[in-house]
Symmetry: C2
Subunit: 240 residues, 2 copies
Amino acid sequence: MTKNLHVCLTPSLLPLYNVEEYIVVIVDIFRATSSICYGIDNGAEAIIPVAEVDECLAYRDQETGYLLAAERNGEVVAGFDFGNSPFSYTKEKVGGKTIVLTTTNGTYALHRSRHAKRVVIGSFLNLTALCDWLKTQNENILLVCAGWKHNFNLEDTLFSGAVVEQLKGGNYKTDDPAIAANDLYQLGRGDLDAYLAKTSHSERLKKLGIEADIAFCLNVDITAAIPVLEGERLVKLQFY
Amino acid sequence: MTKNLHVCLTPSLLPLYNVEEYIVVIVDIFRATSSICYGIDNGAEAIIPVAEVDECLAYRDQETGYLLAAERNGEVVAGFDFGNSPFSYTKEKVGGKTIVLTTTNGTYALHRSRHAKRVVIGSFLNLTALCDWLKTQNENILLVCAGWKHNFNLEDTLFSGAVVEQLKGGNYKTDDPAIAANDLYQLGRGDLDAYLAKTSHSERLKKLGIEADIAFCLNVDITAAIPVLEGERLVKLQFY
């Protein structure tokens, strides 16, 4: 049976979709979902996404042993263990740990999607693993771009287009945002870094001195784990 | 001085912009803004955009002589003079007349943008005339895509990309939506009709039997008038 393959270009547009009808993939390439994929693949027990910095701090009071990660406007919030950089999510740092994470855009999209059939996390790091799993699901799929300050951004859209590309040939009906995302991916796939260098967001992140993070987030298929939302926690999806 | 050239991909995203800071161009290619451009170019005295069918009917009670145009979901509302088809906006039909118009998406975008520095109407029909005028304005420009049911559509985005193309070389700073729109335009410009044939909207309009309307709306530069919002009325912009 034909399923829908839709792209929600920004969380502001989520009210236009019945998320209950979809498996939702959250996409926040620079850098939340890339770091989440990397952290879960590196053995983090769980990552708990929260919407506000205050919620994040409340976890510190509850129990010791949590790592606290908070970022606002691309920078680590003062007093937190770390922010959104994938280099903070190495085996050494996160293996066996639970991380409480709040970011500017990514957790907002996550919270708005939590009533979906399933919420999983996508990034270039786990692209093919994610798509291979999606192909087995026979469900409607909604790629939710976290965007930038509730608006459209190119990197999340491009990644959505990469997913659409891998799911081609499956029995999916695409909407205009999915068609556009896939066309933009065709333009950028040859050199993601060069293509995205022209975006406003990339320019902004470069000003923050995190070019290395950006380059890392554009590595394709270096992880196999699919983070999935279970209750309030993102954990490694178990499937066979 | 550098000005902003931004694209608002759907009216749902308008709250993210301070429309007061921009000249807003309303874009609803299939078919409202194409028909408005054609009607004003063909000598319509004014076109009054209203949000609701009931408002439209109220004009009939006020005064005779108005032409009433209403469309919902791509079809003429029963009892109205006509809907959104550009072929209803010929010299013979609209010359000297005032038309009260309500459409699904276009008038919604218009009403949400009414506090802009200026609100003008764009379509492929008046593309170059519009861009030539915009170049003389030295103002921030926001292209507002009417979209489809408050979501993104390809045809309005592609037109926005065509405007971005003509304004290149001017001193404008583009945002990610403008970059994406222009890239999509590069893909589609060689054959707009073929490119847009793959969209969901085009498919839907074809089901309504209005292929001729669609083809007409993709005519580039067949009109010179720029409709501008003056109070509640769209009239021909006077400039020399």
